[in-house]
């Protein structure tokens, strides 16, 4: 298996133990030596340059860093990547906000709905909000307003008052249900297969 290594390189840290990590992120397989204490979000941002996923707090309250973590066959559940050690992601398939759009750039239904219904202003919480919404809709394809509000209560937004986020998630739900009806497939897209990348 060929691999890519980190674009910015792992920091050379203070001699704390490190270990080999291999995982797939947004369709690309990575193998890196990471320090045991490295959080998944810092691995994503600092080692492999996935800076679309952001850090908004240091107490796992804000949810800005939410990604999906699963396996090659299983689309993954939302996790706050600040609350997962990078090494805990060994062998998993991670999807970030950067991996949602199709190869031709077609946006995911949730991304489209956030755009159409003005579900973002500054956009900092948006990556986490979108990933949480996708997971929420997998559990509950037809949520009420209150169910959306409860389901997203692990993600803070300071700009929107959440109202257009709720609208967007419900609109996306309707679209995803229509897709299922049309295709008979699972509403949540399967993770992209790892690309073979030459070192």
């Amino acid at each position: 298996m060929s691999t890519t290594s980190g674009s910015t390189g792992s920091p050379h840290l203070s001699g704390s133990p490190s270990a080999r990590l291999s995982l797939t992120v947004d369709g690309v397989r990575y193998v890196d030596d990471v320090e045991a204490r490295t959080l998944l979000v810092h691995y994503l941002r600092d080692t492999i340059g996935k800076v679309g996923t952001v850090v908004g707090c240091d107490t796992s309250n804000c949810g800005s860093c939410t990604v999906l973590m699963g396996t090659a066959d299983e689309p993954g559940r939302s996790v706050k990547s600040c609350s997962v050690l990078a090494l805990q992601a060994e062998g998993t398939t991670v999807t970030t906000v950067e991996g949602l759009a199709g190869p031709d750039g077609t946006l995911h239904a949730v991304q489209r709905a956030f755009h159409e219904l003005h579900g973002l202003q500054c956009g900092f919480c948006t990556p986490g909000m979108i990933m949480s919404a996708i997971d929420l809709l997998r559990d509950n394809p037809d949520p009420t307003d209150d169910e959306v509000r409860d389901g997203l209560s692990g993600n803070l937004c300071r700009c929107t008052g959440y109202q257009n986020i709720v609208r967007a998630v419900r609109a996306a739900a309707a679209e995803l249900r229509a897709q299922v009806t049309a295709s008979g497939d699972d509403a949540v897209p399967a993770p992209r297969q790892p690309a073979e990348v030459s070192p």
Binding site: V54, H118, G154, R158, C159, G161
Partner: protein, 792 residues
């Protein structure tokens, strides 16, 4: 031929900004990595007030990957003092504010030492090796103790904790009569406390300083790249033209990024010392301690009125907590409020007195609304008290006092000229949307039946002064800078348009709204407009984004620049069409000869002709571009009526918002979708002040609400659906008729919610619940009332 005009202004255009934000293709400052870049960590004071008896950063230097470490003492001679641009009185007490504390720390979280290392973790790890000894000093945290005799002094060399006292008196100003002489058949005296809030933008602040070879490039998560550049020049001695400041994607601000911060200066000093780019990105815990807080005032309000509910005079005495130092515009925040206590009303007499007070706390400064939410809260709470006292419905008592539509323009008792408004229209619409009368009937029934869950209806009729600001007025108020805004419009040879704006958006959608304005003014496609901002190299003039100013000031500069471009293009078009410029009309995106509409030249035609320059009229330069700077003559005055119905569980103290209606009049609207979003977000922050948020210090001055665990931003599950609508009374003070919307919701919502809670609890003899009205506070108010306490 028929020429149709499809207007972009007024359309709910989806935002151009979204594509990158939705897909993670973002340029937050912390996303930027430069070659050779080092990372900074900051050691902060654990004490609210202490003398630094010794500090040694040398042990940190032996830690792995550490490149440099220094303390305030190491840079004392060069670090200077952070600026206050608004010394509101001549005799203001304005202590130095070094970016790094030198011998004394004056609030929990003040920076004392820094470590620069190859990576963030190494820098943070090495902080523990910095050896600091403190001798704790007595701290003062609260306003009244701070101004009491014998209080510990935050700055002992100044001999007082009172920074300034600023007074407005309508009798002295000639804008009204003397409050002391006012008819006082009814007197309402109340004290309201504006709790301390934390702006809590979602993107923590981050700054990168690249020292280059003495030509500095600085990326900062700031609202004010232009102002920051000026202060970098003034504070560091670096020539201004050797400084480039970039505000890339900025994740929210709400006033909280309207500051020149210690961290920005510390990063600059560090980069200059090590000669390499240095990045500092704060943790959320750092933000809570160090980024400025908002509100924190005690308001003593005295309203006099006649028995019929007509207000005869208003006196306000304010104590405003500045924190340990003066922030960039901190002293001016309550002064902005001074002009708004009289609100939408025709009060004949008004007196305002405010003292800014030092305490051993984080500085306060602008937070969404900045002075105006506080003023609106106090007057709207007091008007409800007056209504109860004279036995009128709260809407009726307001109607008897507010300015009527036909009375505009109206000079307020505070001396501002309100250009337009229609308070009846907004209120009538809000009442209808809420179903006010039916809710009053239900309220009466619940009171009658002794329902444990009581219904309350809160009213808030607000106005605000927006479009900061006329430079002349700012000068009179001793603000250091002006309030103009700048725009440049460049039509490229192929007819595409580049716009450079001096505003600095961080979520407001200027790229979209400015594109709409340009599309209409120049007759070009929305997608053919690019808006450049937030980089002093491309946008060299500007005063940035705050105070609901961007559209009402920057948008007007943009319109004027477009019109200059159009005038020049008209000359060129006339030359090409061999007619007089006066024979041309500009419709459907082109100059057309009157009576011969097929003879037409678009802006793009003109742009290419100018670019080729083969046959230009005499005296016409070979560019199709223009700059404009707009300095407003007056403020703009959005207004509206917000109504809130709450259900209060008198057994648990729980408050549930049953219905929230916002009817805002922000004048003409460029993009109704963006306007509605601003209202939602503002209302959410206003509700948050009423119900959820408070920055709390313990007795020793330790910030207890130091993270999002303790400082409880409302989640989606905590907030109601907001029913929003608009009335539209165009501003007469600018060519777009716009007024501004950024702060409206945050101003209106807080009193609407608290008035509703108090309204629900009136039968229990309660006339106030301190904010935030948590279940515990509501329950305690009820318990106290049942013990025979009650009305304040």
């Amino acid at each position: 031929m028929t020429v149709t005009e499809e207007r972009e202004v007024g359309a709910a255009r989806r935002r151009k900004e979204d594509a990158r934000l939705l897909t993670g293709h973002t340029r937050w400052t912390d996303n930027i990595t430069l070659p050779g870049m080092l990372h900074l960590a900051i050691l902060r004071s654990p004490y609210a007030h202490a003398r630094i008896t010794s500090i040694d950063t040398a042990p940190a230097l032996s830690r792995p990957n550490v490149v440099a470490a220094f303390s305030g003492a190491d840079v004392a001679a060069v670090q200077g003092s952070l600026p206050c641009a608004w010394p509101v009185t001549e005799d203001i007490v304005h202590p130095d504010r070094p970016p790094l504390a030198v011998d004394t720390v004056r609030y929990h979280g003040e920076a004392v030492a820094v470590v620069v290392a190859r990576d963030r973790a190494s820098a943070t790890d090495a902080l523990e090796a910095v050896d600091v000894s403190y001798e704790p000093l007595p701290a003062v945290l609260d306003l009244e103790p701070a101004v009491a005799e014998g209080s510990p002094l935050v700055h002992p060399d100044k001999g007082t904790n009172r920074s300034y006292t600023w007074i407005f008196d309508s009798a002295a100003a000639g804008t009204g009569t003397d409050v002391a002489a006012a008819d006082a058949e009814v007197v309402i005296e109340r004290r309201y406390v504006q709790q301390r809030l934390i702006p809590a933008f979602m993107e923590p602040r981050s700054v990168i300083v690249d020292p280059g070879m003495g030509d500095y490039t600085i990326w900062s998560a700031t609202q004010i790249p232009h102002i920051l550049r000026v202060f970098y020049a003034l504070l560091t001695g670096t020539p201004e033209h050797k400084i480039r400041v970039i505000a890339p994607d900025v994740g929210g601000g709400f006033g909280g990024k309207l500051q020149v911060t210690p961290e920005e200066l510390i990063a600059f000093m560090a980069a200059r010392r090590v000669g390499r780019p240095v990045k500092y990105t704060e943790t959320r815990s750092d933000t809570m301690l160090s980024a400025h807080h908002g509100r924190d005032m005690i308001q003593d309000v005295r309203l006099t009125a006649r028995r019929d509910g007509t207000v005869t005079g208003l006196s306000v005495k304010l104590l405003a907590n500045m924190g340990a130092y003066l922030g960039l515009v901190g002293p001016g925040v309550p002064i902005l409020g001074a002009f708004m206590y009289n609100a939408i009303y025709k009060f004949p007499a008004y007196r305002f007195e405010c003292s800014g007070v030092f305490t051993n706390t984080t500085i306060t400064d602008a937070y969404r609304g900045a002075g105006r939410p506080e003023a609106t809260y106090a007057i709207e709470r007091a008007m409800d008290e007056l209504a109860v006292e004279v036995g009128l419905d709260p809407i009726e008592v307001r109607r008897r006092n507010w300015i009527k539509k036909e009375e505009f323009p109206f000079t307020s008792v505070a001396g501002l000229v309100y250009d337009s408004g229609d308070y009846d229209a907004a209120t009538d619409k809000a009442l209808s949307l809420l179903g006010y009368d039916a809710l009053r009937v239900e309220q009466a029934a619940r009171r009658e039946s002794g329902d444990p869950v009581q219904l309350g209806i809160g009213v808030s009729t607000y106005t605000e002064m927006c479009g900061l600001a006329p430079s002349r007025i700012l000068g009179a108020l001793r603000y250091a800078a002006g309030g103009w805004e700048s725009a440049a419009v460049r039509v490229l040879p192929t007819g595409k348009v580049e716009v450079v704006t001096g505003t600095s958006p961080h979520g407001q959608g200027h790229v979209t709204a400015w594109s709409q304005i340009v599309a209409d003014e120049l007759g070009v496609a929305f997608d053919d407009v690019e808006v450049l901002h937030g980089d002093t190299r491309t946008s060299h003039k500007g005063l940035d984004t705050y105070g609901s100013r961007s559209l009402a000031v920057g948008g007007i500069a943009l319109v004027e620049a477009c019109r200059k471009v159009r005038d020049k293009a008209r000359t060129v078009a006339a030359h090409m069409l061999e007619c007089s410029p006066d024979d041309l009309e500009f419709t459907g995106g082109a100059f057309r000869v009157r009576g011969t509409p097929d003879a037409a030249k678009t802006i793009a035609d003109c742009a290419f002709a100018v670019f080729a320059a083969h046959d230009l009229p005499d005296g016409v330069e070979a560019t199709l571009d223009a700059d404009a700077t707009f300095d407003p003559q007056t403020f703009s005055f959005p207004h509206g009526t917000h109504l809130c119905a709450v259900e209060v569980d008198t057994q648990t103290g729980h408050v549930g918002i049953r219905k929230y209606v916002a009817v805002d009049d922000v004048g003409k609207v460029v993009n109704p979708m963006i306007v509605e979003g601003q209202v939602h977000g503002g209302v959410a922050q206003g509700i948050a002040q009423a119900l959820h948020e408070e920055a709390v210090y313990d007795e020793s001055g330790t910030l207890l609400t130091g993270s999002f665990v303790e400082y409880t931003l409302p989640t989606a599950a905590d907030l109601p659906e907001i029913i929003s609508d608009r009335t539209e009374t165009p501003a007469t003070s600018n060519p777009l008729g716009v007024k501004g919307v950024g702060e409206a919701g945050a101003i209106a919502a807080t009193p609407a919610v608290v008035n509703a809670i108090v309204d629900a609890l009136r039968p229990y003899g309660i006339n106030d619940v301190p904010m935030p009205c948590t279940p515990e506070r509501v329950w305690r108010a009820l318990a106290h009332a049942q013990d025979g306490g009650g009305a304040a």
